[in-house]
């Protein structure tokens, strides 16, 4: 409840300061995210059961951004990430590798073949006996089915293909499994989430659980939800994948970071995704 209050308190402050600072208003907790005037996305909902002890309500990062940034995500024409999603759809349909196949050769039209997938990743792969992120699955397909070179885990192409695939799940509630074969990985992710790192001695929870709604220097701290990923960040004017953002956050604690694609970040992605169970997949979101 205190967290809710802090968000509200800030909204009031912003209104009071609005006269002086013009566009300073942000974090209207009741703002509605409707894309293209037709797709309503859930940006605020009850926390999943496993998180009930920590927070009551989960919020999409969209609610914490300035109104101008929010507006960019409400119209696909204005959302710069859509350019990458479109490029990703072209990659999906492009034949590559020694087998003469594209993604579409096996999976069919992207709107059908990839529907709903973003919402359930990372997930257990029975054949491989491991938890896989979407990036890992893309590269596994490229190597074993297409005979193509894998993409670099964090790369323009990977960001584009993941954007295109994620867009097919836009509006569906995040629903990653946390029990069964993934339980151990999930527990590892949870431990990492609460482990302090770096010279600044901060854990993910220090900012995103205990202090969301507050300012960290000029930044408005969100809950660190990843339902909007991949995101187009105005900061670096490109698509950012989940592990890229994790790396940036850990770096900001002034620690040596884990590598994108490492088992630590895979576990953390699973855990952080599960904290957002119930929020909508936002496809390609826009953040600062």
């Amino acid at each position: 409840m205190t967290k809710l209050k802090s968000i509200r308190a800030f909204a009031v402050l912003a209104v009071a300061g609005g006269v002086a600072f013009g566009g300073a208003a942000q974090a209207d907790e009741n703002a509605e995210l409707i894309v293209n005037g037709e797709i309503t996305l859930v940006t605020k909902t009850a926390a999943p059961d496993h998180l009930k002890d920590a927070v009551d309500t989960i919020y999409s990062g969209w609610l914490f951004r300035e109104t101008g940034t929010q507006a960019m995500q409400m119209d696909d024409f204005v959302n710069p990430g859509m350019l990458d999603a479109e490029a990703g759809i072209e990659l999906y349909n492009a034949v590559d590798g020694t087998e003469g196949k594209s993604c579409a050769s096996c999976h069919g039209d992207i709107a059908e073949g990839m529907k709903g997938l973003r919402a359930v990743y990372p997930k257990w792969n029975e054949a491989a006996g491991e938890v896989r992120t979407m990036e890992m699955q893309v590269n596994d397909c490229r190597e074993t089915r297409m005979g193509a070179e894998p993409y670099k885990y964090i790369s323009r192409e990977m960001g584009q293909i993941v954007s295109a695939v994620s867009l097919q799940s836009r509006g569906e509630p995040v629903n990653v499994a946390i029990d069964g074969p993934v339980a151990a990985t999930w527990a590892q992710g949870k431990e990492l989430y609460y482990t302090r790192t770096g010279i600044l001695d901060l854990s993910c929870a220090s900012c995103h659980e205990e202090n969301y709604g507050n300012m960290i220097r000029a930044d408005h701290l969100s809950q660190g939800q990843i339902n909007g990923f991949p995101v187009y960040r105005l900061n670096n004017a490109k698509i950012n994948q989940v592990h890229d953002r994790f790396k940036g956050c850990v770096r900001d604690t002034r620690a040596e970071t884990y590598n994108p694609g490492s088992s630590e970040f895979i576990a953390l992605e699973l855990y952080v995704a599960s904290r957002g169970n119930g929020l909508s997949v936002e496809g390609v979101s826009v953040r600062n």
């Binding site: 024409f77 204005v78 710069p80």
Partner: protein
């Protein structure tokens, strides 16, 4: 040579005579400023869209000079009065000499 340059335009298909319509344009472009250096310390050559124009039935609506500080994928939103049925023609000029064009028909009636 800039890759994957695709212009996009959104304009209402119809308008009433004398109506002010909102026009949105977006073009995917790297907009390399010419100020940055690559990993080996060599300057990355400038590659930007340096001019954007919009004409309605041959009459100029807007003519923009773009500078290197404009970030990737330049987006323009502006308004125009539509007096009659006609065609809006959009032109982007690239540093490398390429010209990208798009056109949209607006019907008054």
């Amino acid at each position: 040579m800039a890759d994957n340059v695709t212009p996009r335009v959104r304009v209402p298909k119809s308008a009433s005579a004398g109506e002010v319509i909102s026009i949105k344009t977006l073009i995917s472009h790297i907009m390399e400023s010419g100020q940055r250096k690559d990993g080996d310390g060599n300057l990355i050559p400038r590659s930007i869209i340096n001019r954007f124009t919009c004409d309605f039935n041959g009459q100029n609506v807007i003519d923009v000079t773009l500078e290197p500080a404009i970030s990737t994928n330049p987006y323009f939103e502006f308004e125009a009065v539509i007096p009659e049925t006609g065609e809006l023609k959009f032109t982007w000029y690239d540093d490398d000499g390429s010209v990208y064009e798009d056109a949209k028909q607006v019907t008054v009636g």
